[in-house]
Amino acid sequence: MLAEQIINGVVLGSMYALIAQGYTLVFGVLNKLNFAHGEIFMLGGFICVASIALGASLPIAILVTAIIAGLLGLVVEFIGFRKFQSPDAHLTAALSSFAIGLVIIDLSQKIWGAESVAVTLPGTLQTAAVSIGGLRIVVLRLAILVISLLLMLALYVVVTRSSLGRRIRAVAESPTKAALFGINVTRINQQVFFVASMMAGLAGLALALRTGYASSDVGFTFGLKALAIMAIGGMGDLRGALIGGLLIGVLEALAFHWGLGQLADVFVWLLMIVILLMRPSGLFGTLISKEVRA
């Protein structure tokens, strides 16, 4: 029983980590908080609902969700961040992305209603289970876990090994210097936003499939928690976001196991405040961005 809870926690944590990677990527490169990120995650679930309702099969729905979420990321970058790139514009950027988030929530409630919408997949995909060593594990959850881990591994390899990653890290280090070396900073920002939002959209799709419905308030509850997880793991650090996400997922599952579920939200934010007090740079050092300016 406890082992099953821990596995559920790891699956939950992998979704947290997927969102937190997006926060941390944007924060690492632009040094700004993207408050619209959680709402793109929320929309991921609804795009999946809509595309399945239009008759798309699951792989197509996944593809559509990834692309639309990524494109929305470009919109957020254009409206909310393009004009506010100076190092001390972080208040303006936070405010504009927050406003975008409000608009996204309100519009999605206008389209799909304020209640949650059920997602039904054909066949037994949502309930099929395997048992490994006496543990019954739903295949879908296992798939979510594996796919999220693969996505994060791919992102990590791209950022640390590829030439695109080198350009991203250069922009994170100093946009001015990167521009002097001939890097198109705007293009890099767009790519970062596309990838971050794509991952958020896929996380939203995973959550909708796992719980069986898409709801318009997950951006504010689930998505915002990933922001705290990012700070716990270390702002701007991809590994930190992964480990922080898994850690919080497991702790939260254990809290539910012991009947403390209601206070799990509070616990995450309190943990963040405590970690800021003890280790301001989070549990891990920074990978992308060295300097975190005020």
Binding site: L91, L95, T221, K225, Q262, L276
Partner: protein, 278 residues
Amino acid sequence: MIQDYIVFVGVNIVLAWSVYVILLAGSLSFANGGFMAIGAYVSGVLTVKFGFPLVIAALISGIAAGLIGVLAGFPALRTRGIYLMLVTVGIAVSVKAVIESIDYVGGIQGFGGMVGTTPWHVVGLVGLVGGGLALLSRSPLQRILDAVREDELSAASLGINPIYVKLTCFGVGAFLAAVAGSFYAHYLIHVSPDQVLSVFIVLYAVLGGTNNMWGPPIGAAIMTLTPEFVRGLEAWRPTAFGVVILCLLLIRPDGLLAFRIATTRTKAVAGSKPKQST
């Protein structure tokens, strides 16, 4: 009806000022809705269950919220500015979760029985806070705040303790939000966690512009009254105000958060080029 308008506009004006006070030292707070909820619930419990008079209960709840704000803000401020924003989001979420899980104050159903706010309370509060801010804007303290907001490092080199200044502003902002929240609750009679936890408060403050103390009340009044008089706007409130804020931010790239008055005054005195801050 006119009573409703006075109370709601007044409460929102004080809430907008509570964000403005924190912004004066250069931090953006998403937590004021949480502080407002703390004020509403703490003072509600004090008046309903313990029979305290309203004004005393409002003051106690304000002090409680201020202390919570200072305690939570301290670790963030010790490090770097952007972390305070994260902590404020955390406070807002935690306050809601905590209130919902305490059965003593009704959980998700909300808490009722608070009465006693008259429009005069609210008018008096607006007058007091407005008077205080007007005095502040002419005092040396305003220049200390300007210094911390514009450049923490050089402020520190002049012997100002930026952490102390920011934390004080955060505490005062929390206090104001809680007092406004307690008057609001005692007018509505019944409050629920969702109702008192408004995400719009930040927008109230910045819509009118934070150049000086008169911007936030104008923004709060516009945002409170327009939906009452324009049919159909109430349903589209988040979208409408989100789009308006975005347009204003995009049309004036220096931002609604540029402190024009303060910087022009510096220019007149020092003859230096004003530095835009956002």
